[in-house]
């Protein structure tokens, strides 16, 4: 029997926002954004299966199983409708949640999400997965970031603390072997994405060395796509203000549409 998926909760309000981190991180990646977000919303930041306090939860590296575990946890809390934002692997899980239960996902914000294009820099991710001391971690994180990026000390501390958990390093190695086999990842069909009816916002670093920015090229017309100049893959650390505004604007847009205050339909968002 596997452990239940773990989360950190903050804030209260009529809207609930679910935050999903990327590979090799934990809920702590959102720490700097939580005070602003939780001032007006209930926030649930998960440790995805195989990561941090969800180390032994079911579905590590399997996006569909992770999405199912999150929905079950939300249902147990009586939460039927939520907003979702996810980075990288967490973005792939977020997108699958929207595909599996679109009626439960009010808005979807994807930050350099997995599952959009085939190409993935598995070499870089394996190096990150194997990094266990501060220097290795810093070097790996810099390699995954844009050319001008710095690695926040808090990020290093969080990553080191996570990797100190018994069994964590082995689990990361296992997950990366699954998600980047042969430098290729599973891809969500474009027609499935195009069928989504909730507002979808996508942020992507133009210098992303893990998942190429070019993967945004043929995203559905209704998606609001924002290129972050100079940024790499680590958007939450590299462009926290842009991430914060994108999530907030998308939640506000969905809320306005739902309340009839905005006649715009998601599919009309781009010329």
């Amino acid at each position: 029997l596997s452990d239940p998926i773990q989360s950190v909760r903050a804030g209260t309000g009529p809207q609930t926002l679910v935050l999903l981190h990327g590979f090799g991180a934990t809920h702590a990646v959102w720490n700097d954004l939580l005070p602003a977000l939780s001032a007006t919303m209930q926030i649930i930041a998960y440790d995805l299966p195989g990561h941090g306090r969800s180390l032994d939860a079911a579905g590590a590296g399997q996006a569909k199983t992770m999405a199912k575990a999150i929905f079950e946890d939300l249902a147990a809390a009586g939460l039927e409708s939520i907003h979702v934002a996810g980075h990288s692997m967490g973005g792939a899980v977020a997108a699958l949640m929207a595909l599996v239960a679109p009626e439960r996902v009010a808005s979807l914000t994807l930050l350099a999400p997995g599952g959009i294009g085939e190409s993935i820099n598995g070499t870089l991710l394996r190096r990150y997965a194997a990094a266990s001391d501060e220097n290795e971690l810093k070097t790996s994180l810099l390699a995954m970031s844009g050319p001008q990026a710095l690695v926040p000390q808090a990020t290093l501390r969080q990553a080191l603390a996570m990797r100190a958990r018994p069994g964590q390093m082995e689990r990361l190695a296992g997950i990366v072997a699954m998600i980047a086999r042969g430098e290729r990842q599973g891809v969500i069909p474009r027609e499935s994405l195009a069928a989504l009816t909730m507002p979808v916002a996508v942020l992507w670093g133009e210098k992303d060395p893990v998942l190429p920015f070019a993967q945004t090229a043929d995203l559905p017309q209704g998606f609001v796509v924002q290129a972050i100049a100079g940024a790499g893959h680590m958007l939450v650390e590299e462009a926290p203000d842009d991430v914060l505004l994108a999530i907030t604007a998308n939640v506000a847009r969905a809320t306005a549409i739902a309340s009839g205050r905005n006649e715009e339909k998601p599919g009309q968002s781009r010329p």
Partner: protein, 89 residues
């Protein structure tokens, strides 16, 4: 599955990084309006105008400077105006 113990840590962490930035306050302002939190909306609006008068008078210019897409810029400006920020754009 919940850990409210982290709240203090989260708040302390944020205060040293993004709390002073105009975009951070703008996001909080938009969210406060969207979720009907009038108290937070008012205090955030006051703080934004007080600490970032240039941004508050013309948020569009700030977003365009950061190369935000036009449709997103429009949406943010409209949302900020609906939340009470002046119509300097």
């Amino acid at each position: 599955m919940q850990d409210d113990m982290h709240k203090a840590e989260l708040a302390a962490s944020a205060l040293t990084t993004t709390a002073a930035k105009s975009h951070y306050l703008a996001a909080q302002l938009i969210s406060a309006k969207a979720t009907g939190n009038e108290t937070t909306r008012r205090t955030t609006l006051d703080e934004l105008v007080d600490k970032f008068p240039k941004f508050a008078s013309d948020p569009r210019a700030a977003f365009l400077k950061r190369k935000y897409p036009p449709d997103l810029t429009d949406r943010l400006v409209v949302a900020l105006r609906a939340a009470g920020l002046g119509s300097g754009s």
